[in-house]
């Protein structure tokens, strides 16, 4: 994606962020620089390079299926905006 293709308003909508027109202009310019920088990678010849899924050549970091203690509920709910009957309460959402 080149910076001209960058739809800042759409990306903001996906991230659920409301931007002013001034902010849209600022981010378009700033994100454009980031994209240009990353786009340099496209100029590298990677014909002989194995694709990897991660920057570290490490695989298979697993844990055994064992139960560990969970947080006490009061602690889990400590940051809840509101709570009732052990539930986190949030603004009503529709599915």
């Amino acid at each position: 994606m080149s910076s001209e293709d960058l739809d800042v308003e759409y990306v903001a909508e996906l991230a659920r962020i409301r931007l002013t027109p001034e902010e849209v202009a600022t981010f378009r310019s700033q994100l454009g620089h980031v994209l240009e920088h990353v786009a340099r990678l496209n100029r590298l010849n990677v014909a002989g390079v194995e694709p990897t899924a991660h920057s570290f050549p490490i695989y298979n970091v697993f844990r055994a299926d064992e139960v560990k203690p969970s947080l006490p509920r009061e602690e889990a709910l400590a940051n809840a905006p509101r709570q009732a009957e052990g539930l986190f309460l949030v603004t009503k959402v529709l599915d």
Partner: protein, 485 residues
């Protein structure tokens, strides 16, 4: 369905895996617990908490893939599926995007997997539904919608969830029913999941479109939600296919939308029309390293069970059972294990199957017991079948002995001896009884000799009565015929 229309159905099935702990943290997987008692910084999505893969969840997914003849990827990885909803506080769900653990594979639709009323008229016998992929992800929290707020319980958040995606190979509601039944059975056989739809252990999203057979292009894809049972899926599809065809017949244009099935009313209603396409911006989760599956595949292969459909074929072949009997037994893994323990080495495996499927199942049902709790040992059932088979007791007595075995757990030989049920098979004794009856009934004997061959049944009855039911009926018949000829 009107014959000039055809339906195209695809299913996405989510399956809760039977692990002890969650997918990326050590919190317990427990259902029906008090809300938010099985949480930690990882499954609450607190900043800085790092996920670590549960190896058993990967193994169970690979096991499912092997049972369903999938290709297991040599390397798979986890990605972030970004979206904003309070059931997923990280604002992304860890899932698998372009490198799922399993690809391809198939689910066979065998006859008994169809609804009972449809088994006689299966449109495509022996059909196999192809799979696109099976991947692993984390489940989300549970939401409870109240009048003015939504409550969230994170006990389920982060529990391992396997998603099985079918090709749109299914054409009929009955095939969707058979697909889910067959799949569910494989999952139970493999010990992968309890797969109870009513408990949400198996959840199913259905896409369905209809088109005229003469049209090349697929119709608008309609997604159905709120399907809570396998028969509900069948009913919802039957309703929906009909609704879509009627709409097309009226000249309406169908649009992509999501509809909710109401099982009580038996109809679907519009939930939402398709808004802008979902754009999840998947990218590889940098917190998780890729997986090379070869390190655990050998162990998974050693756990590979006989699939229900393999067992069905083997029961037919090894024990000479009918396809139906083999199907009923294979449907129930503990029951088929019991049957095999009783039938192995028996001269009459079919009689063993009859006892298991009739007497045993109804006795267990009446007692509210499972096969595992059955008081009759398989070798005792085998011995009972042998007693009946050899004519030592008749089949009516066999049933009585069985009930006694079931209520007391005593072996059949002992019961037969105690009750003095042993049939009289001593030829001399039987002959004496027969002569006595012949002498006492000259008129009947005359009728028989005069050509009224059914008269012998009366004589036979008299002999049985005289022996108090203990005489071997086959021997009595033979002896009477010999004496009267």
């Amino acid at each position: 369905m009107k014959s000039d229309y055809t339906a195209t159905i695809g299913l996405e099935v989510h399956v809760q895996l039977k692990t002890k702990s969650k997918m990326f943290c050590g919190c317990a997987v427990a259902y029906g617990a008090e809300p938010n008692v099985h949480t930690c910084p990882t499954c609450l999505g607190l900043p800085g908490a790092l996920p670590v893969m549960n190896l058993e969840a990967l193994k169970l997914t690979a096991l499912t893939g092997l049972m369903l003849k999938c290709q297991i990827a040599p390397v798979c990885k986890f990605d972030r599926k970004n979206y904003y909803y309070p059931d997923m506080p990280k604002n992304y769900q860890i899932s698998q995007y372009d490198l799922p653990i399993c690809e391809r594979g198939e689910v066979p639709l065998y006859d008994l997997a169809y609804p009972k009323d449809a088994q006689k008229s299966i449109a495509n016998p022996g059909k196999r539904v192809r799979l696109i992929r099976i991947h692993l992800e984390e489940d989300v929290a549970k939401s409870f919608h109240f009048e003015s707020s939504t409550g969230i319980d994170f006990n389920r958040a982060g529990t391992p969830l396997m998603e099985i995606v079918s090709q749109p190979d299914i054409e009929l509601p009955e095939e969707a029913f058979a697909y889910l039944t067959s799949l569910k059975q494989a999952l139970i056989y493999g010990g992968v999941s309890d797969a109870d739809m009513e408990k949400g252990q198996l959840r199913c999203d259905v896409n369905v479109s209809v088109r005229k057979r003469t049209d090349a292009a697929y119709g608008a894809k309609i997604e159905l939600k709120n399907l809570n049972s396998i028969s509900g899926v069948r009913r919802a599809l039957a309703f929906e296919i009909n609704r879509q065809i009627e709409a097309l017949e009226r000249g309406e244009t169908l649009r992509q939308e999501t509809r909710r099935w109401d099982d009580d009313l038996g109809e679907t209603t519009l939930m939402r029309t398709k808004e802008s396409a979902h754009d999840y911006r998947y990218f590889p989760d940098p917190d998780l390293l890729p997986v090379r599956t070869e390190v655990f595949l050998d162990e998974v292969r050693s756990r590979l069970p006989e699939t229900p459909w393999e067992k069905r074929e083997r029961l037919e072949k090894d024990y000479g059972l009918s396809a139906y009997d083999a199907g009923v037994l294979a449907d129930d893994r503990p029951l088929s294990a019991y049957f095999e323990a009783a039938a192995r080495g028996s001269a009459r495996p079919k009689s063993v199957a009859n006892y298991v499927m009739n007497d045993l199942l109804s006795a267990l049902g009446a007692a509210g017991q499972t096969v595992e709790e059955c008081p009759v040992r398989p070798e005792d059932l085998k011995a009972l079948v042998t007693l009946v088979d050899e004519g030592r007791i008749n089949s009516k007595q066999g049933k009585d002995v069985f009930s006694e075995m079931f209520s007391t757990g005593v072996d059949p030989q002992t019961i037969v001896r105690r009750k003095g049920l042993q049939q009289e098979s001593d030829l001399g004794a039987i002959e004496a009884l027969c002569r006595e009856v012949i002498a006492a009934n000259p008129k009947v004997v005359e009728d028989y000799r005069g050509g009224k061959s059914v008269s012998i049944n009366f004589l036979k009855g008299q002999v049985m009565k005289l022996s108090k039911g203990k005489a071997n009926p086959a021997l009595v018949g033979e002896t009477l015929q010999r004496l009267l000829s």
